[in-house]
Symmetry: D3
Subunit: 302 residues, 6 copies
Amino acid sequence: MDFNKWMNEKLPEVVNLLEQNIGESFDSQIEDGLDLAGRNEIYKILDNILAVLFPGSFSKEKLSREDINFYLSDMLRHLSFKLGKHVRDVFRYRCKKDNCENCDCETRASDAVKNLIEQLPYIRTLLMEDIRAAYEGDPAAQYIDEIILSYPCVEAIATYRIAHLLYKLDVPIIPRIMSERAHSLTGIDIHPGAEIGTGFFIDHGTGVVIGETCTIGKNVKVYQGVTLGALSPFDKKGIPRKGEKRHPDIGDNVIIYANATILGGDTVIGDGAVIGGNTWIIKSVPPGAHVYNRVRNGESNK
Amino acid sequence: MDFNKWMNEKLPEVVNLLEQNIGESFDSQIEDGLDLAGRNEIYKILDNILAVLFPGSFSKEKLSREDINFYLSDMLRHLSFKLGKHVRDVFRYRCKKDNCENCDCETRASDAVKNLIEQLPYIRTLLMEDIRAAYEGDPAAQYIDEIILSYPCVEAIATYRIAHLLYKLDVPIIPRIMSERAHSLTGIDIHPGAEIGTGFFIDHGTGVVIGETCTIGKNVKVYQGVTLGALSPFDKKGIPRKGEKRHPDIGDNVIIYANATILGGDTVIGDGAVIGGNTWIIKSVPPGAHVYNRVRNGESNK
Amino acid sequence: MDFNKWMNEKLPEVVNLLEQNIGESFDSQIEDGLDLAGRNEIYKILDNILAVLFPGSFSKEKLSREDINFYLSDMLRHLSFKLGKHVRDVFRYRCKKDNCENCDCETRASDAVKNLIEQLPYIRTLLMEDIRAAYEGDPAAQYIDEIILSYPCVEAIATYRIAHLLYKLDVPIIPRIMSERAHSLTGIDIHPGAEIGTGFFIDHGTGVVIGETCTIGKNVKVYQGVTLGALSPFDKKGIPRKGEKRHPDIGDNVIIYANATILGGDTVIGDGAVIGGNTWIIKSVPPGAHVYNRVRNGESNK
Amino acid sequence: MDFNKWMNEKLPEVVNLLEQNIGESFDSQIEDGLDLAGRNEIYKILDNILAVLFPGSFSKEKLSREDINFYLSDMLRHLSFKLGKHVRDVFRYRCKKDNCENCDCETRASDAVKNLIEQLPYIRTLLMEDIRAAYEGDPAAQYIDEIILSYPCVEAIATYRIAHLLYKLDVPIIPRIMSERAHSLTGIDIHPGAEIGTGFFIDHGTGVVIGETCTIGKNVKVYQGVTLGALSPFDKKGIPRKGEKRHPDIGDNVIIYANATILGGDTVIGDGAVIGGNTWIIKSVPPGAHVYNRVRNGESNK
Amino acid sequence: MDFNKWMNEKLPEVVNLLEQNIGESFDSQIEDGLDLAGRNEIYKILDNILAVLFPGSFSKEKLSREDINFYLSDMLRHLSFKLGKHVRDVFRYRCKKDNCENCDCETRASDAVKNLIEQLPYIRTLLMEDIRAAYEGDPAAQYIDEIILSYPCVEAIATYRIAHLLYKLDVPIIPRIMSERAHSLTGIDIHPGAEIGTGFFIDHGTGVVIGETCTIGKNVKVYQGVTLGALSPFDKKGIPRKGEKRHPDIGDNVIIYANATILGGDTVIGDGAVIGGNTWIIKSVPPGAHVYNRVRNGESNK
Amino acid sequence: MDFNKWMNEKLPEVVNLLEQNIGESFDSQIEDGLDLAGRNEIYKILDNILAVLFPGSFSKEKLSREDINFYLSDMLRHLSFKLGKHVRDVFRYRCKKDNCENCDCETRASDAVKNLIEQLPYIRTLLMEDIRAAYEGDPAAQYIDEIILSYPCVEAIATYRIAHLLYKLDVPIIPRIMSERAHSLTGIDIHPGAEIGTGFFIDHGTGVVIGETCTIGKNVKVYQGVTLGALSPFDKKGIPRKGEKRHPDIGDNVIIYANATILGGDTVIGDGAVIGGNTWIIKSVPPGAHVYNRVRNGESNK
């Protein structure tokens, strides 16, 4: 069949099948995404929040000092307006799923947006602490601005701090879209539910995974490929352990070198401990301990 | 030399050198990419296929239910038209390379596009199975829509299922551009040649590599950093083993935890096996077996 | 408070706080990024350099042969003009930081841009060598153009070769923005300071880290997850070892399989050595040696 | 007051005043335009209809013959979809104004759009007759394509023929937006209610006005500045004469030279008459008559 | 010479000549437009002011009632910001020309912008009066919204009322750019210096010219081609009569039909007078008089 | 029929009819515009030429002095490249129509573009003379820049001077597209074939028509609505008088006031003559004569 003809005769059938398909129920829920913010919209909002936090570095174009007040004001108004719509959508979505009645979800949605925007100056202060930690922790870093402009941990941690606030404000879905955006761009996957202290630094970062119930103290350094995960996501019957504490607790001033794996909700890494590269940790480590991968290439090469 | 002057006097020389360079032969083949689809064009087409499969979530802007039929129809027409051009280009490119005569490549190219578009409703059905597997397999997942909107495995597996179909339809080059696009966005690298069953779930995913001749059964779960690779890409004479079976076979209901490495074309992981994190597997594993990394931090810390 | 009212009354306060915050000193330095190129501008320039090096493949749209001279000329003029502005900005930024007086930084900035542009034909020649290595080293590769269009190592190595040249020309910050751009897109993190020989190939690539003082010989092959890192970024007093040699030297014709870790500034991998997957190397390896991970799944499973 | 402060403190008051103002009633009707198509949307639709009628000449970019079928199909689908929305809006708007109940306005709106689209091939045929008349009537015209590409009468008459069809299909408001668009671009003001025969040519055209109840025969030629108007828009009591016949009838093969004024609903210009430049006609002219401005500069110069 | 070669060798010379040319003095003034707002910027600002005054009709896209407050606020902030820059530029430009010292031009510029924005609700009120006059004066008008959406006089008079306010606030150049923008779009040329009362209506409008020192009373109607001009722009020595009163005064409730010409600074058209089409008026007309073109086609046809 | 269904079933028929229609012959010529530059492309090129001639005023955005050389160079390269394509297209089009063989049309096309670009500095010099004439001739003009930014005659005359040069270089069709673009924007219709001396000024301009075989001397002033036309475009047999001299000659230093009509190829207006408003001139006027409209409103009002 000629291509134009195929388009006119066959393609409409495909359209109808897809439309039906999209409208179909799954486990008797209507799941078509149409009531929710598309992820591209959330990405744009997140990019704009980052541009507000670090205007010179993350904005689309170079800014002059005299225009900065207008720029911030303009961006924040647009942000608030658009994020407001999407946050209301996700609250409504959950209300519908939960058959929630006489709820104050509309108000809570608006309050969440206001709260996030009002906390942005504080979030920036936290991030400057993280950036200072990067500056002090990386021999290659020369300028604070260089870190903001080029270190992937800045985007990853900034996104985490924003998503974490929305998570605590009980905003559904959007925090996860944000954290996966940072994951896509940096290879660093921090669940918005994790609790992370000030002065956090991740070097290189590709492959880092930090789980939902993880807690991390102050001034912790983490390298690429580090997993802070669950021993198993399933209980003994193979049922996912939703809601339970299942990821480790990391103390203050801990350093975790590349590709180390630390698993389990009962695993505690004490303050000041150093976890060597390529280690496999499923039991607690006392404060100040140094745990190394003892395999040496001399040995394994023999 | 003044910059404007340099632009007028020196730059034209650089242009001429580059133009020559680009037109030059390599192993007596003309290789300048000009006969082929640029990758950005293919990326846009792929994004649009994903937007057709999950309109609310992957489309550029929020859609209303009443416009969905028009939207799908419009997107599919554009897709078919543009993909049609590019698929014809890659077939022609291969014809030229192969000095293929009296071939039916034009027809096969058109048929491949029609086939892909006609299979999209079926591909969506497959993907809903994958998404259900994610929903059931991840304790943190709350809603089906949340998975579609934020889990990287959705984009990676959707892209794989599209690219795999084109691969089986013998479309050159484009399936690889597509799979590397998903690789770039998710850190998950699935070769379009791999054969993967229904209900496939990848959690976190950064660093996952699944090779060309790999087969994977139904309801398999895979975590970040898992390699399903070749023992060596070279034969004993150091010559690449093109075309041979060189990657493992994974049975049904297998779970493979983070950073496990499974290598070799003769390696078979039996149905229901569980492969622990950080393991190194180069021999077959029987059905139902549990293989764990036995190193413990208590021990290695001594 | 009503949302419109909140925008009019509360939001201006947030703006003022943020503006203050952004203008504030850190360690008595003004750090607001406003004097520097935003990273998005550098990303666009880098994309355009890649489009000039591989016009058909990396350009936004398909090009015809007859327009290629105009296209190259147009792109290079724009590139030179815009990169010129940004390079002058970063030189001025460093001058201000260093209180550099009577310096020839303006001239050096212009010269750096001219130098980069003039070297592009040579860089393309180098890259064609890298691509040839990929073609010869990967059993799955069918066409040179396929490699350019889809292999992440092309973007990663091309970006490295551009950033490395700027690094040697003493351009601050911009090389790092470029290398992190490639890191984000490919998961491959090559510091612009590393010295890498011709015919370099990285397969899959996610998680590869190559440190600042690393040297790599000719015709080296590297797989995903390989780290060429420092044993420790800190000296015994915990102070970062800036400037020192701290990453390994890799000889000619070396192969390093997936997830191998090679650490330390005194570690030398001799010519022709083969480093197996998942190995941990902190001592030198003689030429021609084969170092394998000796753990077998049969054993660890017992 | 400082400008930023003024924006934050004074501007919100202006916004509130304007918002109130816009929502206010006029003669107890709500008139805020929000229920209607904005004119820019209609302009875009009109531009697209013209691009469909004369693809090479009026499309945004050059088209190739092989893509023309797809182009037409794509444009017509978008056109139909968007125009459909706007036509439904204006029918609903009139329903609301007229308190029209149990009306079939939704159906009539859809039918009007379908009817217009289905008539486009016929409208193109009519326009080719008009263009032939231009070609034969203007000594300066060299090519048919030149006329389509550059003569303002083509845009004016094409817009008239489209708007006239919508006018006869009882579509409110939109035909007038269309005719005023052409008026703005060409200086030619043809009311969509006028009835104009085939082979119509307007040369230069600036200042031409053709009233709502005017009729014009076949093969008529008109030059710039010609008014075919009402003697007075008011009856003797000063009340606008809505609905009445108040503009002249022009026969077949009439020529009306520049700046002639022909007024009145009873004024008939007979077939084949020639009306000279700068004449003032308020009585009928018999078939074949030649009416000239008899003032000569020789006389008035004395 | 080959075209690419010509571009590289000959074109730079043309660039240098033009650059010189542009920088050259004219009557010893530097006139290169670079210190001033480009007209396209002013056009965009004007379009945005019109969109604020008539949001549904003149905005780029359809608006919903719930977003109107945000829309107005956003538009007005941008408007104020951008217009602020341009108005400061034109004041500075005049300062430089006039060697104005210790002037308060910066303040006056800011005040002019604030004043305009604060007057917008009042300007909208005036325009609603003009639109009411159109509604009552045109038999063809059916809806207020139809007039706003399609009558050229709305854009012409709205632009005039905005430009006139800036003119009275002593803003140089910008009012003229605005009035010529409306002239281009409507064929109606109203100098911003003219003083025009409420309830002003222009039908069709192409070719209308209203001079700088003209005054027009309340509820005046004017048709296409009407000139309210100067008898001569030069005094007896041929020197332009700058600043003098040189255009007519039109009383209240006057009607001036198509193509009438009224000239001279001493010419007064009394209240309620009716000026017929195609008349030539260079002396005053008493209140209530009806002046007609007495030429009849019957006569001139003989 | 449901709208979506109608789109799928009926619309393809309309597409086919239109496609046929567009491909159809007219007087056995194929006339579909597809071989020619679309008018929108030519409009963009013309806008860019104007932006090069008056960068600050006509460019899209404000320019800084330091970037002007790059801007001009960039614009001129693009201009030359794109105009080159279109000029070659129109030459080829004419070749095909004329069955021109062994012609040097390709060369002549390239030469025409080069010639135009090389003449731009000279054209700017001419235009500065025209602008000086406007400055001296209009009492309302305050600054040279004001004239460039707001007077419609600048765009009209600049376009004329560009189109006239292409006309003399025998470029078909494009000069007419350009002159009609200016006609649309200004209401001033100057045929590219007219010969116009230096220091030409048109005030207001709406409705001005200047015919193809017209000649105009130095320092001529023309007001709105002036026609310099043909007595009749037809010879006594009603056949268009192609190629003949049919429009008047205007001497040096002539002033022609608003709405004057001057017709005929034998009509000569002598140097220094003044033609009054609303006059009708079909015979020659001697040098220095003053021709006035002798009708007075006093008389005609009686």
